[in-house]
C-alpha cells in the first residue's frame, strides 16, 4: 500500500524546488548516458534507481514517485529500443520497464516510510518532552489561584502555541494566556465541557479539550496556534486537571492544619492565661486572707513581708494585663506605627536610658561602626524592642557579665544584636521563646517575667517588615537580633 502524504509543515515553494531538483537529477543522468554510449541499459536503470532512493530518503514519497515516473519516461525514450520513441518493440523490454517503475516506486515507498516513522518517533519524543516539562511546571506552582493564572501562559511557553485559555466549571471563570482572543470564546469552552469531548479545528488552528480527571470534568482547555495531536491534548487535559485538584487538596490540608494549630494555640493560650493570671492572684489572696485572719498570729515583720508580696503581685498583674492587651492590639493589627527616620545611635542610647535603673553597674558594650545609620521605624516601638532584649539579657545573666549591643548594615536592613553571656537557650526552646507566655523552663525559678515580652518584640519587629531571631549556645550565652528597614541617604533627620 502506498501512503501518499507529505509533511504538513513543508511549504509550497520548498516543494517546487524539490520537484525541480528531482527532475534535474533525472535529466543529468539521462544526458550523461546519452552522450557516453558505453553502458548497457541495466546499469542505466540502476543509476536511476539509486538517485530515486536517495531522493525518497530525504524528501519523501511524493517527490520520489514523481521522479520515478520521469525516469521511466526518459529511460523508455532514450535507452529502450526503438530509441527516440515512447514505443517499445521488444516485449521483454516492457517487462524491464515495468519492473523498473515498480521497483523504484516500491523502494521509494519503503525508504519514505522508514523516514516517516523516524520523523513520527521524533515528533512523539518531542511531545512527551514538552508534556513532561509542562507537568514539572504545573507541579511547582503554589496555591490554586496562582496555578490557574499560570497554566495558560505555561501552555503557550511550553507548546509554542499562539494563545491558550482554560475554563473552570466550578468557578465559572476563564483564565487566559494574554489578551482575549475571539476564537477562544467562553461559549466554545463551555460547549466542550458540555460535550465532554475533544474538538480539533485544523482550518482555524484551534483545539479544545476537556480537563478530565477520571470520569470527572473540571473544565476545558482551548488552544489557538499550531494544532497539537489528540494524544498531547488529552494528556494536557489530564495533567491540568490533576494539578488543579492537587492544588486544591494541598490548600485544604493547609487550612485544616492551620485551623487545628489555631485551636491548639488558643487552648494553650487559655491555659497559660489561667495559670499566669491566677498565680499572682493566689499569692495576693493567700497573703490578704492571712492578714485578715482573726487568729492574729503574724508578727510585724511577717505582716510587712505579706504586704510587700501583695504590692509586687499587684504590679505583676498590672503588667500582665497591659502586655496581654498590647499583644492583642498588635495581633489584631490595631497598632499604627509612626514610621519616621530614626538614628540608630539615638535608638540605642534611648533604650539604654530606659534600662539605666535596672542595669545598675553591669558593663555594657555598644558596637556601632556607622553612627549615621538610619532606620525607618516607629521610635517608641523600636525602642521598646531593644529595651526588652536588654532587660532580658540582664535578667538571664550574672550581674558582672557584660551585655554587648551592636548594629550593622545588612542588605536593606540594619541588624541590631543584643548579646549576653547567660546560660544559653537549648535548641528545643529557641523555637518556643517567641511563643506567647512561654518562659525558659529552668529560668522560671529565678526570673519573674510575664512571658509576653519576646512575642511582643516579635510582633513589633514584624510590623516593621523585619524579623527577629536568636542564636544561642548552651553555657556560652545568647544573641538576640532583629532587623529594621534601613533608610538610605538620610543624615539630617532626627
Amino acid at each position: 500500500m502506498l501512503v501518499l502524504n507529505c509533511p504538513v509543515s513543508t511549504k509550497l515553494p520548498t516543494l517546487l524546488v524539490r520537484y525541480a531538483v528531482a527532475l534535474a537529477a533525472v535529466l543529468i543522468i539521462t544526458y550523461f548516458y546519452v552522450h557516453t554510449h558505453r553502458f548497457n541499459v541495466t546499469t542505466i536503470a540502476f543509476t536511476y534507481l539509486l538517485a530515486i532512493l536517495g531522493v525518497s530518503t530525504v524528501w519523501g514519497l511524493s517527490v520520489s514517485v514523481f521522479m520515478s515516473l520521469a525516469a521511466t519516461l526518459t529511460y523508455n525514450y532514450f535507452f529502450l529500443p526503438p530509441i527516440g520513441t515512447l514505443t517499445i518493440a521488444d516485449p521483454q523490454n516492457w517487462v524491464a520497464l515495468f519492473t523498473f517503475l515498480a521497483t523504484s516506486i516500491l523502494a521509494s515507498d519503503l525508504s519514505s516510510r522508514a523516514r516517516n516513522q523516524a520523523a513520527e518517533a521524533n515528533r512523539r519524543r518531542h511531545e512527551v518532552e514538552r508534556l513532561y516539562k509542562f507537568s514539572q511546571r504545573l507541579l511547582s506552582a503554589g496555591n490554586p489561584i496562582e496555578l490557574l493564572n499560570a497554566i495558560p501562559r505555561q501552555i503557550v511557553e511550553t507548546f509554542e502555541v499562539g494563545a491558550a485559555a482554560i475554563f473552570l466549571l466550578e468557578k465559572q471563570k476563564i483564565y487566559r494566556s494574554g489578551m482575549n482572543l475571539p476564537q477562544l470564546d467562553a461559549d466554545f469552552l463551555k460547549a466542550v465541557v458540555a460535550r465532554e469531548e475533544m474538538q480539533i479545528d485544523h482550518e482555524h488552528s484551534l483545539c479544545f479539550a476537556p480537563l478530565r480527571l477520571g470520569t470527572k470534568i473540571l473544565g476545558s482547555l482551548g488552544i489557538s496556534g499550531p494544532v497539537l495531536s489528540r494524544e498531547s491534548l488529552e494528556a494536557m487535559g489530564t495533567l491540568i486537571a490533576v494539578a488543579i485538584e492537587r492544588a486544591y487538596a494541598t490548600e485544604m490540608v493547609g487550612k485544616t492544619e492551620a485551623a487545628r494549630e489555631g485551636e491548639r494555640l488558643k487552648s494553650a493560650l487559655l491555659d497559660a492565661i489561667t495559670h499566669d493570671f491566677r498565680t499572682p492572684l493566689t499569692s495576693m489572696k493567700a497573703s490578704v486572707t492571712s492578714l485578715l485572719s482573726p487568729a492574729k498570729l503574724l508578727d510585724d515583720g511577717q505582716k510587712s513581708e505579706l504586704l510587700h508580696i501583695i504590692d509586687e503581685e499587684c504590679d505583676r498583674l498590672n503588667r500582665l494585663v497591659g502586655e496581654a492587651a498590647e499583644m492583642a492590639r498588635l495581633e489584631a493589627g490595631e497598632v499604627k506605627l509612626q514610621i519616621e527616620p530614626v538614628r540608630v545611635d539615638e535608638l540605642i542610647s534611648g533604650a539604654l536610658d530606659v534600662c539605666k535603673g535596672v542595669l545598675g553597674t553591669r558593663p555594657i558594650h555598644v558596637e556601632l561602626q556607622n553612627p549615621e545609620l538610619h532606620v525607618r521605624a516607629d521610635f517608641v516601638r523600636a525602642q521598646e524592642v531593644l529595651v526588652h532584649l536588654i532587660q532580658n539579657a540582664h535578667l538571664y545573666s550574672l550581674p558582672d557579665h557584660p551585655i554587648t549591643i551592636s548594629a550593622e548594615e545588612k542588605d536593606d536592613f540594619v541588624q541590631f544584636s543584643v548579646a549576653d553571656r547567660g546560660p544559653g537557650i537549648s535548641d528545643a526552646e529557641q523555637g518556643l521563646i517567641f511563643d506567647k507566655f512561654y518562659r525558659g523552663a529552668d529560668q522560671r525559678y529565678r526570673v519573674q517575667g510575664t512571658g509576653m515580652g519576646l512575642p511582643i518584640a516579635k510582633a513589633i519587629v514584624e510590623a516593621h517588615g523585619g524579623t527577629i531571631a536568636v542564636v544561642s549556645q548552651m553555657g556560652h550565652g545568647s544573641v538576640f537580633s532583629f532587623g529594621l528597614p534601613i533608610m538610605k541617604g538620610t543624615t539630617e533627620h532626627k
Partner: protein
C-alpha cells in the same frame, strides 16, 4: 510534740514566700522545693509530715511527683492547682493525694485542710485487730497483711479502713465517713470517698470489681462486712 514540718513545692517564688510566712506564723516548720525533683529529695532527707504540692510545674509534673512520693512515703499530700474540674480532682486523688485545694484559696481554708490532713484518728478508742483467712489488720501497730504479705496504706486510707472496721456491718453515710476521717469541715466531697474506697479495695480485695469486704450501699454509703465464705452474698443485718 515538735512542730509539724510542711514541704511547700511550687515553682513560683512569690507563692513560696507567702506560704513560708503564713505557715510559720501558724507554728509549722516550712521547707521549700522548686520542682518535683527537689521535692523528692527533700522528702527523703527531711521527712516532712505534709507536702503542699503545686500541680502545674515545669519538669516533672505535680501529678507525676505525687505518684513518685506515694511510692516511697506515706506523707500527707495536699495538691494545689488552678483547675477546678471534677476530673482534675479525681486525677489528683488517684495520684495519691489526700486532699486538693484550688488556687486562689483563702489561707483559713488551706490551714483547715492542713489540720485535717495531719489529723490522725489513732488517738480515738482502740479498735480490735481484724483477722480473716486472707486479711490481717492490726490497728494498734498500723499494720496490714494481705495473704500474709505486708501492704502499705496511706494514713488517710488507714483511717478510713479503721473507721469502716470499727463499725463492721453498719452502713456508714458519706458525710459521716468524710467527717470522721478528714474532719468536721468536710461532708460533700463524695469523690474523695469514691477514690479512696477504690484504692482500699485494690489493696485488700481479692477481686476489687466484686468486693467481699467493702460494700457499696447505694444512696447511703459504704459498709465493711466480710462475706460468708459459703454464701458469697453480703449478710444484711
Amino acid at each position: 510534740m515538735s512542730t509539724p514540718t510542711i514541704l511547700v513545692v511550687d515553682d513560683e517564688p512569690q507563692i513560696r514566700r507567702v506560704m513560708r510566712t503564713t505557715l510559720s506564723s501558724n507554728g509549722y516548720t516550712v521547707i521549700e522545693a522548686r520542682s518535683g525533683e527537689e521535692a523528692l529529695e527533700a522528702i527523703r532527707n527531711e521527712r516532712p509530715e505534709l507536702v503542699l504540692l503545686d500541680v502545674n510545674m515545669p519538669g516533672i509534673s505535680g501529678l507525676e511527683t505525687c505518684r513518685e512520693i506515694r511510692n516511697q512515703s506515706d506523707v500527707a499530700i495536699i495538691m494545689l492547682t488552678v483547675r477546678n474540674s471534677e476530673h482534675d480532682k479525681v486525677l489528683a486523688l488517684d495520684a495519691g493525694a489526700d486532699d486538693y485545694v484550688v488556687k486562689p484559696f483563702g489561707m483559713e481554708e488551706l490551714l483547715a485542710r492542713i489540720r485535717a490532713a495531719l489529723r490522725r484518728t489513732s488517738s480515738a478508742e482502740p479498735v480490735a485487730p481484724f483477722i480473716s483467712e486472707d486479711l490481717e489488720i492490726d490497728f494498734e501497730r498500723r499494720k496490714l497483711l494481705v495473704h500474709g504479705n505486708p501492704v502499705r496504706l496511706t494514713p488517710k486510707e488507714f483511717d478510713l479502713l479503721r473507721h469502716l472496721v470499727a463499725n463492721q456491718g453498719k452502713p456508714l453515710e458519706h458525710r459521716r465517713l468524710l467527717q470522721a476521717v478528714w474532719g468536721p469541715d468536710y461532708g460533700d466531697e463524695t469523690e474523695y470517698l469514691r477514690v479512696f474506697i477504690n484504692q482500699l479495695r485494690k489493696k485488700i480485695e481479692p477481686d476489687p470489681a466484686h468486693p467481699k469486704y467493702i460494700h457499696t450501699d447505694p444512696w447511703v454509703g459504704y459498709r465493711f462486712e466480710p462475706d460468708a465464705p459459703a454464701s458469697g452474698k453480703p449478710k444484711k443485718k
